[in-house]
Amino acid sequence: MSRQLWSFHGGIHPPQYKELSNQRPIAQAAIAAELVIPLHQHIGQSAAPIVEIGAQVLKGQEIARAQGYVSASVHASSSGTVIAIEERPIPHPSGMSAPCIVIATDGEDRWQKQPPVDGHYTEMEPSHLRNLVRAAGIVGLGGAGFPSFIKLNPTGKVIDTLIFNGVECEPYITCDDMLIRERASEIVAGINIMRHALQAREVLVAIEDNKPEAIAAMRQASANANESGIEVVIVPTRYPQGGEKQLIKVLTGKEVPSNGLPFQIGIVVQNVATAYAIHRAINHGQPLVSRIVTITGDGVKEPRNLEVPIGTPIQHLIDQCGGTTGDIERVIIGGPMMGFAMHSTAIPLIKTSNCILVTRKPDQPPPLEMPCIRCGACAEVCPVELLPQQLYWHARAKEFDKTQEYDLFDCIECGCCSYVCPSNIPLVHYYRFAKTEIWSQEREKEKADQARKRHEFRLSRIEREQFEKEARLAQKRAAVQQKADSGDKGEADKQATIQAALDRAQAKKEQQQEPPKNTAALTPAQQRLVDEADARRARLDAATTAASNKEAE
């Protein structure tokens, strides 16, 4: 029985290059001497460190705790000593630094004492499961890294379809493919946990038809698990089918609204690697401390997939794949379509990094950018049915309000338009530029509104203070006037006041003439001491007088 499939608009068929890295089994990466674990590895707020420099940490120990709702904890990915908590370059297109916890590993890779597993997941409340997933620091491993516990919260909606994304449509990347081939039964265990948390009616696992081994493994595992509800769906290979909204369209025919989320139409999409991580967390009590990464490209000697502790420097991984082959042009994190070039290979691997693509310097220089000839090829391939050409013209002219009219923020930056552009225009770069400019303008606008509010408040406060001061003065003036008006009586008042002041002064004087109070009530013993002291003082005085008299003589 085969399921009806739909199709999404556009898309491309770039060369796959997947055979480069899927010929070797997944290997464990050696522990690097130093792990650099960024506190911010996903969308949302950074985690706050809970260890200090010099602390001994064990593998799996929580070292930074989630802050706020959209956030995930961070764990030590191997045992060792925290040697620094400082800014280090992280995988980000800017090449900038962000706070990281640096661990010098001891090479023993000792796990912390595993907390007892709280029984079988089927006996757990979905909310408890979500708390466990949150504490395990699990984020979506497909790319954006949205904290997974949020996507396990249906917020009162009925989830019809829970989709597991094993599409992996981007060229070169094979980490999900290899994970399914080798660990399908663990993935199925994770799928069952997530289905329980979401109470989903239907569970689909989507895999592209260019991964027959993975399809077979997944079918076998779901049959073994004796779970009738998991359906493995084979989808025809096309880029960017792995995009969340594109995959939903293909599998269900439904469209996620612009600016909307899939759960609004009763669908949740999770990556297969996330299911694997959730299985490790719930059934084994192991937080997310490693992930499978594809190290590939014509620039590495032995492209393959490695299971890598989070925070391992990229250079360490390239070295484990036999090093580089001659002149390297770029090291890209992510795939060739959506990834970005890194500024250095000292950058650590984070939870959302699925691929390290090392490219060799091409024999001929890249083709030059030419003017747009308005051919419209970009609009034909756009999976979101935008007008990439219009977006390009407006972004180029910095007309950001116009780009928003053309729904710039629906762009998923898949790169299809740039791929087909006969003039080699870096279209996605223009869209990314426009998006960050618009965000920056929005931030500035917010700040300006705040400043306006504060300035207006200040002006009104100054006015109010002025008004109050005048009112006070007027009151005083009125009081003085009243006194002046009352004539003789005023004079008598004055005399009385003077008399009262004189009396007060007199009383004070008298009080001062009284002996000091601290010698008023003395015990006989104290009195004796005082007398002795007085006598001593008198003797001393007499002696000094005598001495000075003598001198005078």
Binding site: M96, L368, R452, R454
Partner: protein, 184 residues
């Protein structure tokens, strides 16, 4: 002939009354144009334009008493959006009022501050916290970088620093044109 004159007079009266009523009934408080202009200004409240704050400058522009190129913190971006709103041609920033600078924030050297409160009184957005003979400090998130606190400080303990570029406010650079010209 007479009918026509009468009819037109009657119509004129009716419409006159109608317009007169509408003018009173639907009177708009404040100046909506000044409001719109004010929304485009950066609200630094620095007074570099020669007016005591952004709002007075906006009102002057609405009345046509001031040109649109007198706001250095807003720079060329603000001039372009003002030109757009007012249907004018964008012109370069008036060099007389100052030059466009990157976003700044004031920093008080707390070792030197004597707690005189003069800067607190000068700050247009109440972004300085402190009291007499107590150390003062800037609430950086509220500081507009107007520099009005620099001048009154008797011990020169306030400096302006460029707002640092961080990951959250990083922007993709404008794509460079890979043409034959700049390749060579």
């Amino acid at each position: 002939m007479l009918t026509a004159v009468l009819a037109l007079t009657a119509l004129a009266l009716v419409f006159g009354l109608l317009l007169g009523f509408a003018a009173v009934r639907f009177k708009v408080e404040g100046d909506p144009l000044a409001e719109k202009i004010d929304a485009l200004l950066p609200q630094t409240q620095c007074g570099q334009c020669g007016f005591p704050g952004c709002r007075p400058y906006a009102e002057a522009m609405a009345k046509g008493e001031a040109d649109i190129n007198r706001c250095p913190p807003g720079g060329q971006t603000t001039i372009i959006s003002l030109a757009d709103l007012l249907g004018r041609e964008p012109i370069p920033l008036d060099a007389e009022v100052g030059e466009e600078k990157p976003k700044m924030v004031a920093i008080i050297d707390e070792n030197i501050c004597i707690g005189c409160t003069l800067c607190i009184q000068a700050c247009p957005v109440d972004a300085i916290l402190g009291a007499a003979k107590q150390m003062h400090t800037i609430i950086e998130a509220e500081c507009t970088g107007c520099e009005l606190c620099l001048e009154p400080c008797p011990v020169d303990c306030i400096t302006m620093e460029v707002v640092p570029q961080e990951i959250f406010n990083w922007k993709w650079p404008y794509p460079e044109q890979q043409t034959e010209a700049n390749k060579a």
